[in-house]
Point group: C2
Chain length 398, copies 2
C-alpha cells in the first residue's frame, strides 16, 4: 500500500477549527464508534441480556481485540490479552517476570519512564519486601546498569516527555545476555512506530489503547507474553477469567494454557466494543508507510518551529531513528503557552516541569496541519500571548 | 417513600416476552443509557477531546459515581472509589489488609465464596510466599475458624450459589475481637439488600456494578475503605491516579490522603458514564422498601416452586433474614432445565455443579412475573421438557 493511503481524516470526527496534536494522549472519536456501541447496547445488552456473553461473542472479545492489536505490534495471534488498565498490566508483567528470576531482586527501569510504571513497581517492591528494589537511572545510563543482579528490565520504548526512543532489540539483547527478563511498555509505540515483538524476543510487552489506537477515554490496556514462555507464567493477579475453565467454578486457580491466563476479571465489554470499532481505522495501513509519514511530519515540525521560535528548546531527538511520533520543546512558560495554543485551536499538552508536547498521528494529521500549527505557535510565542492572566491558572489535569 | 414506588419497569428496556430473573448476573439496559453515552462520546470525547478530562468532569467521575454507590451501601461521601474489576479490588483490599497485620499469615474466607475471590487470594499468597496461606472452610464453619492466626477475614456477604447471607455485623465483630481485618464482598448485596458499611465497622468492602446496579457488561467495580484507616492503607497497586498529585509526575509514589489512593490507572470513562446513568434508577428508592419487596418476591417464588415442582430441592435459606435477593434450587439436570427455560422466556442461570439460580430485582420484577415464571418452570420440570437434545450442549458461559 502506498503512503497515499494516509491521512484518513474522513475516518474521524474531528472538531472544526481544531488542529489536534494530542492524539498521543487521547485519540479522537472514530466515525462509527457511537453507532457501534449504541447497537451493542440495544441489541446485545438490551436484547440478549446475559445470553450475549455467548451469542454476541462478548467472552471472546478480549482475545479478538488483542489479536487485532497484535497485528500492529508484530505479535502472533493469541499472544495478546486485553483488559484492565496499563498500570495493572505493568504489575502483571513485573510480578510474572520476578517469578521467572526468583534468585534476583532488582527491577531496572529508567527515570524517564512514565511515573505510573515506576509507581506500580514501587508498590510491588513494597508488598514483597525481602530486599526487592527498583532502580531507575537516567535513560542514557540504562544499558550499563543491566548487571547480573537485575531480574527484570522494564522500559517504555518511547519517552512520554521527550519522544526519545530506546533501541528495543539492542536493549532486549543486553537484558537477555545478563540473564534478565525484558518488559516493554508500548504506550507511545503501538500505532505510532513499527514494533516487532516477535523479532525483539522480549518476554513481555504492555500498552494502552486510548492514545494512537483511538480507543477512547479509559479504553482497555493490553499485555503480550512470548508464546514459548506463557505456560510458565505464574499470574499474580489470578482472576477467574484467566482460569482454564472459568465457568467450572473450581475451587482452585488453574491458569489457562495461553495468554488468556493474563486476563483477570469481567472484561469491559462496552469499552472493548468501541476499541474494536476504532481499530478498523488501521485496516490496510502499512506500518512502514505510517512511519515514513510520521517522520516527515515531525521533521517538518522541528524545522518550522526552530525557524520561527528561537525561545523554544528542542527536547526531542533530532535524529529520526531514535524519535517516536511526537515532538517536544522545553519552555519555561510552557504551561501557559499550551493554554494559549488550545485557546487558538492548536491542542498539544504540557508535561511537568517545562515540556510542551505535540503528537503527530499520520492517520489524521497532515503537512497542512503542521504548517498551520507552526504559524499559531509562532504567534503565541513570538508575541508572548501566553502572558495573559487567564492562561496562568492550572487545572487539575495538565 | 412507600413500597408502591416499586417496581419501576418503565426505567428499563426489557425485551418483550422475557421474564428476566438473572439481574443478579447482568442487570438489564436502563433507559437513557444509550443516549447518555452517545452524548458523552460525541460532545465530550469528540468535541472536547483531551480537554474533557477537566471540562466534562472525567477526572472526578470515579469519585462522583463512588459517592452514589456509597449511598446504597451506607458509606459516607468520599469513602468509595470506582474502577477496575472486582477481582482487582479484592486483591487491593487483601494486600492492604495484610500490611495492616504484618505479624499474621492467614487469609480466611469460605469455600462458598465466588471462585475469583479465592483465586485472587491464591495469587497473592503465591506471590508473597513467606508462609502466607488461604483457608477456606465451609461457610458455616467460618466463625469458629476466626482465630488469632488470622490476619484478614474476606467473605462475600451473599453466597452466589445459594443466596445464603452472612451476618455482616456479627462476623465483623468476631474478626475484630480476634484482631483481624474484615473485608466484605458486596457483589450480591449492593442494590440487593440494605447494607450499612459504617455500622458494620468493617475496614474494607468491594463489589461490582453490573449486577443489581445495572451498570452493563464489564461495568467498573468499587472499593470502600473505612475513613479512619484509609490514610494508613498502603496500596500494593500504586497507580498514578491514586497519587496525591498525579499530574505533578513526581518520581515517587505518594498516596492521596483519601480513598482516592485506591484508584489505580486511567478510569474507564465510557463504562462509568453508563453506570452513572444506570444509578439514577435508584433515585428515591428506600432500601427498606426494596428489601420488603425482595423478600415478598423470593418468599412467593419458594412457595410456588415447592408446590409445583417436588423434583427441585431448595438450596436457599427458607429464613428470609439470612437470604439475599435470589432463590436457588438444586436439580441434577439443572443445566438443561435452565436452557429449556431460557427458550421459553424465563431467564435464570446455572451454576456448577447443580444449581438453578433465579434473581429477584424489585426495580423491575413484580409478583406477576413470579407467577408467570413459576408456571413455565412447572411445565419444564413437570413435563421434563429439559430432556430435549438441544438443551444438553454446554456453551462456554453457563
Amino acid at each position: 500500500m502506498s503512503q497515499s493511503s494516509l491521512p484518513r481524516k474522513d475516518l474521524f470526527d474531528l472538531p472544526k477549527g481544531v488542529i489536534y496534536l494530542d492524539g498521543n494522549s487521547l485519540g479522537p472519536l472514530p466515525k462509527g464508534a457511537v453507532e457501534r456501541v449504541s447497537e451493542a447496547m440495544r441489541a446485545e445488552w438490551g436484547g440478549e441480556l446475559i445470553k450475549a456473553w455467548n451469542s454476541a461473542g462478548w467472552m471472546d472479545l478480549p482475545r479478538v481485540v488483542g489479536d487485532r492489536i497484535g497485528e500492529l505490534i508484530g505479535a502472533p495471534a493469541g499472544s495478546v490479552a486485553t483488559g484492565d488498565t496499563l498500570s495493572i498490566k505493568v504489575y502483571q508483567a513485573l510480578a510474572a517476570a520476578l517469578k521467572i528470576r526468583p534468585d534476583r531482586r532488582v527491577i531496572l527501569s529508567d527515570n524517564g519512564n512514565f511515573p505510573s510504571d515506576l509507581y506500580m513497581a514501587e508498590g510491588l517492591v513494597g508488598l514483597l519486601g525481602q530486599g526487592y528494589e527498583l532502580r531507575a537511572p537516567d535513560p542514557e545510563a540504562v544499558a550499563e546498569a543491566i548487571t547480573d543482579e537485575v531480574a527484570v528490565v522494564m522500559l517504555t520504548q518511547v519517552d512520554y516527555r521527550t519522544g526519545r526512543m530506546h533501541d528495543m532489540n539492542a536493549i532486549t539483547k543486553l537484558a537477555h545476555d545478563a540473564g534478565a527478563v525484558m518488559i516493554w511498555d508500548l504506550a507511545h509505540s503501538a500505532g505510532a512506530v513499527p514494533v516487532d515483538m516477535t523479532g525483539s524476543n522480549a518476554e513481555f510487552a504492555v500498552g494502552c489503547s486510548y492514545k494512537y489506537l483511538n480507543g477512547g477515554p479509559g479504553a482497555p490496556a493490553f499485555i503480550y507474553a512470548r508464546p514459548d514462555i506463557v505456560q510458565d507464567v505464574q499470574p499474580a493477579l489470578s482472576g477467574w477469567l484467566g482460569h482454564d475453565a472459568p465457568f467450572a467454578m473450581e475451587r482452585h486457580y488453574r491458569p489457562a494454557m495461553s495468554t488468556e491466563r493474563l486476563r483477570v476479571g469481567t472484561p469491559p465489554i462496552l469499552q472493548l466494543t468501541v476499541l474494536q470499532q476504532a481499530l478498523t481505522a488501521w485496516d490496510g495501513v502499512d506500518m512502514a508507510d505510517l512511519r515514513a509519514a510520521s517522520l516527515a511530519l515531525t521533521d517538518r515540525f522541528i524545522v518550522e518551529i526552530e525557524a520561527r521560535c528561537p525561545q523554544l528548546e528542542l527536547a526531542t531527538p533530532r535524529d529520526g531513528a531514535i524519535r517516536g511520533s511526537q515532538v517536544s520543546f522545553k519552555f519555561e512558560h510552557g504551561y501557559a503557552a499550551i493554554q494559549a495554543l488550545i485557546d487558538r485551536g492548536v491542542i498539544g499538552d504540557f508535561r511537568a516541569p517545562d515540556i510542551m508536547r505535540f503528537g503527530f498521528t499520520p492517520l489524521y494529521i497532515d503537512e497542512g496541519d503542521v504548517i498551520a500549527a507552526a504559524e499559531i505557535i509562532e504567534d503565541v510565542i513570538g508575541n508572548a500571548l501566553w502572558r495573559d492572566e487567564k492562561y496562568q491558572t492550572r487545572s487539575r489535569v495538565t
